[in-house]
């Protein structure tokens, strides 16, 4: 038994949480983006929508990055108790009633950011194709994993959402799902089995899939980069999923790269601050800058990360520190050799 000093009706979380939750429940993803927007990266690739074994799963997470930051930025500038804030949050209802596209709310998102993050899923798919893997993609029907419902404690909502996701996946007969985001992988692998009885697919991450596909015969080139790189391990990847060595072994095979290590790396990696971004954006930003400083101390020119939230957080950290460090997702980095 745990005591509390206020009545249950006062136990509501700050409204920013409600926005995220409401969006996932109503629109299937945290920022109410349309499926067509989320799947737009795949247009030219003509990926099959049905298949047997490998299901490529973006969960929309890389695509959502620039919008998350724009929402958080809006929240950071406003006092969450203020009337302006409630008004802004009230817009959600307005959107529902009048059918204004939610994207307009995030009109401040830079086209080049949207372009960059959208492209990551495209690049990931291209790499897997290059490595000879046959896979399919759910396109506009694909749903967000629900990772934030899990993070924020909304298990009842998560259960409903997970049921939808699982029906969709099971309907296709997938044996394996390849997740681009460690957060999707974590939720599919460690949380869904607690909620759903008939979810028996194997959950893989893009990183460990690539690690398996790269063999003596199948190689990727690396063009256009030589210099020092440092890996920022994602917490979920390193500590929940235990994946740290795969990426190092892949990168160490490329010529022209000098790998340097941060003092806090692998399972001792420092969190990017991303997880508390929605509720505590200021502290989240500071943690990101702190991590960038740790990575800078290695003397690297380029940070390689492999999680959309780490990417978003470190990107911001680099900006606010006015660091000259470059940042690329592992997917972007590998794609250099294909483009």
């Amino acid at each position: 038994m745990i005591n509390h000093n206020i009545s249950p009706k006062d136990f509501m979380l700050p409204q920013s949480v409600e926005v995220i939750r409401g969006n996932i429940n109503k629109y299937g993803n945290p920022l109410a983006l349309k499926g067509s927007e989320i799947a737009s990266w795949a247009r030219e690739l003509n990926l099959p929508l049905q298949g047997e074994d490998y299901l490529f799963y973006t969960g929309g997470e890389y695509q959502l990055i620039p919008y998350i930051d724009s929402l958080v930025q809006a929240m950071t500038m406003m006092d969450q108790g203020s009337k302006v804030f409630s008004l802004m949050m009230g817009m959600r209802n307005l959107i529902d009633k009048t059918g204004i596209s939610a994207e307009k709310l995030y009109a401040s998102v830079l086209a080049r950011d949207r372009e960059r993050y959208n492209k990551i899923s495209y690049k990931a798919a291209s790499i897997l194709k290059e490595l000879g893997l046959n896979f399919y993609y759910l396109g506009e029907r694909e749903l967000y994993s629900g990772a934030l419902l899990y993070e924020l404690g909304f298990w009842d909502d998560l259960k409903i959402h997970a049921q939808k996701v699982v029906s969709l996946i099971n309907e296709t007969g997938a044996k394996t799902i390849i997740c681009l985001s460690p957060h999707s992988a974590e939720v599919f692998k460690l949380v869904y089995p607690k909620l759903i009885d008939d979810f028996n697919v194997e959950v893989r991450t893009f990183v460990d899939m690539v690690s398996e596909l790269l063999t003596a015969e199948k190689k990727l080139n690396l063009s256009g980069f030589s210099g020092k790189v440092v890996i920022h391990d994602s917490c979920r990847m390193a500590r929940e999923l235990g994946i740290t060595e795969e990426i190092r072994s892949i990168l160490s095979k490329f010529e022209g790269i000098t790998m340097v290590e941060a003092e806090q790396n692998g399972k001792w990696t420092t969190c990017c601050g991303g997880p508390c971004k929605i509720l505590f954006p200021d502290i989240s930003g500071r943690i990101a800058s702190y991590r960038v400083k740790e990575l800078e101390e290695t003397g690297a020119e380029l940070i390689i990360t492999f999680c959309p939230y780490c990417m978003a957080a470190l990107d911001k950290g680099i900006d606010s520190k006015k660091s000259t460090l470059q940042l690329e997702d592992f997917i972007e980095f590998l794609y250099r050799g294909i483009a």
């Binding site: 745990i2 009706k9 409204q15 298990w155 969190c271 505590f280």
Partner: protein, 402 residues
């Protein structure tokens, strides 16, 4: 105050702390030295890692048998001519302490996290006593009217210049911002208090049920004087601190200080009863040089609720080495402001169950990154992220069920 208001208040304090240059400088130095000291200590005593694993099993067993072990410890202490008490709640603990101490007494106390949990000092002062924190860090905080910012180094955020300021005001004479001189000033002041004190108070890091031996780990020597000089010694101890045997207590102690970054602490005090002598005619007489009376209050205050839950009972394994805090990315920015009475991620769990309730714990529960680095550092591998997940679930279940 609604939860949303609590979040706002917490966030404001958090952001203020994040902008505090003293915290930033102090923490970055502290983290660095903690890491290198701990690495060196573990390299010099490599058996500690294995011993920590034994301690996990030992704590599991102890928490399972908590009630029985507390009874046994009480029996042992009583056999040693100490008096023991059981406090179910904070109010009971304060009442018992007050009944023993009374009013108009001088009390010198050693550092105790349980005392912070109960806010004993404030309570005793309210009852008309003069109470002095004797741990240097706690003494500084007492003068500054602040709460601890780290469990092992409570005044981690206060640099020497600020110490000099508060000392100059308190002692009524100029104290230079020179650490040795600051330490000397407190030593001189407290020496007088120790020898005039009616009561010495302390906590205990671990208690052996078989013998009633209570271990107090420290470096300054203040706990040693507090517990040895005044005529009465009052111990406040959480019921989760009891382990079966004396040897078990030694293992827990060694693992605690090693992960608190010490090869060995300056002092390890072991106290099991009042001071006594049989030197004249073999007649046992109490209060030879030290206290004639010792009173030990075992405090539950939510601990048995924690022990009653499969997921949360591991929270009681916490040895309070403080290692997790140095590794916590949030703590590294804001120190103990990521806390209520208890600090950091594990502190969020303790706040929920023991000191504050779920509403006061909620901002901490959501501030935790669930990044899991604390688990890597923790000698007993307490899975804070899983407990945080469950507490978030419960907060939502409370607030959104209607």
């Amino acid at each position: 105050m609604s939860l949303e208001k609590k979040f706002q208040k917490y966030t404001a304090e958090l952001n203020k702390a994040a902008n505090d240059k003293n915290i930033e400088v102090a923490l970055s130095r502290a983290v660095k030295s903690y890491r290198s000291n701990t690495k060196a200590a573990l390299e010099r005593h490599p058996h500690t890692v294995q011993m920590a694993e034994e301690v996990i099993e030992l704590k599991k067993e102890s928490i399972k048998r908590m009630k029985e072990l507390v009874d046994q410890a009480r029996e042992s202490i009583e056999l040693n001519k100490g008096k023991t008490y059981f406090a179910k709640t904070r109010e009971d603990a304060l009442q018992l302490t007050s009944d023993i101490i009374g009013t108009k007494k001088i009390v010198v106390k050693g550092k105790s996290i349980l005392a912070e949990e109960l806010e004993v000092r404030e309570y005793l002062i309210e009852k008309g006593n003069e109470v002095w924190e004797t741990d240097l860090g706690e003494f500084i905080l007492q003068l500054r009217n602040e709460r601890p910012m780290h469990i092992v180094s409570p005044s981690i955020h206060v640099p020497r210049e600020q110490v000099a300021e508060v000392f100059t005001e308190f002692f009524g004479r100029p104290i230079e911002p020179d650490i040795a001189k600051e330490v000397a000033a407190v030593k001189e002041f407290l020496r007088d208090k120790y020898f005039n004190a009616d009561i010495g108070m302390s906590g205990s890091n671990v208690v052996a049920a078989d013998t009633g031996a209570m271990v107090i780990i420290e470096n300054e020597g203040n706990a040693r004087i507090c517990t040895a000089v005044p005529p009465v010694h009052v111990v406040l101890v959480g019921i989760e601190k009891v382990v079966p045997t004396f040897q078990d207590a030694m293992k827990v102690s060694e693992v605690t200080w090693r992960y608190a970054n010490y090869t060995v602490p300056g002092y390890v005090n072991i106290i099991s009863g009042p001071s006594k002598t049989g030197d004249i005619e073999k007649v046992t007489t109490y209060g030879a040089h030290g206290p004639a009376e010792i009173h030990v209050i075992f405090v539950d205050n939510g601990r048995s609720n924690m022990a009653g839950e499969d997921l949360f009972k591991q929270g009681l394994h916490c040895l309070r080495c403080g290692g997790c805090m140095y590794e916590c990315p949030v703590f590294q920015q804001v120190a103990g402001h990521f806390g209520f009475r208890y600090l950091g991620g594990i502190g969020a769990i303790w706040t929920a169950f023991v000191a504050g309730g779920l509403d006061n714990a909620a901002p901490l529960i959501y501030n935790c990154l669930r990044c899991g680095r604390c688990v890597e550092r923790c000698p007993v591998k307490i899975d804070v992220p899983s407990m945080i997940t469950e507490l978030r679930k419960r907060i939502v279940a409370l607030g959104y069920s209607g």
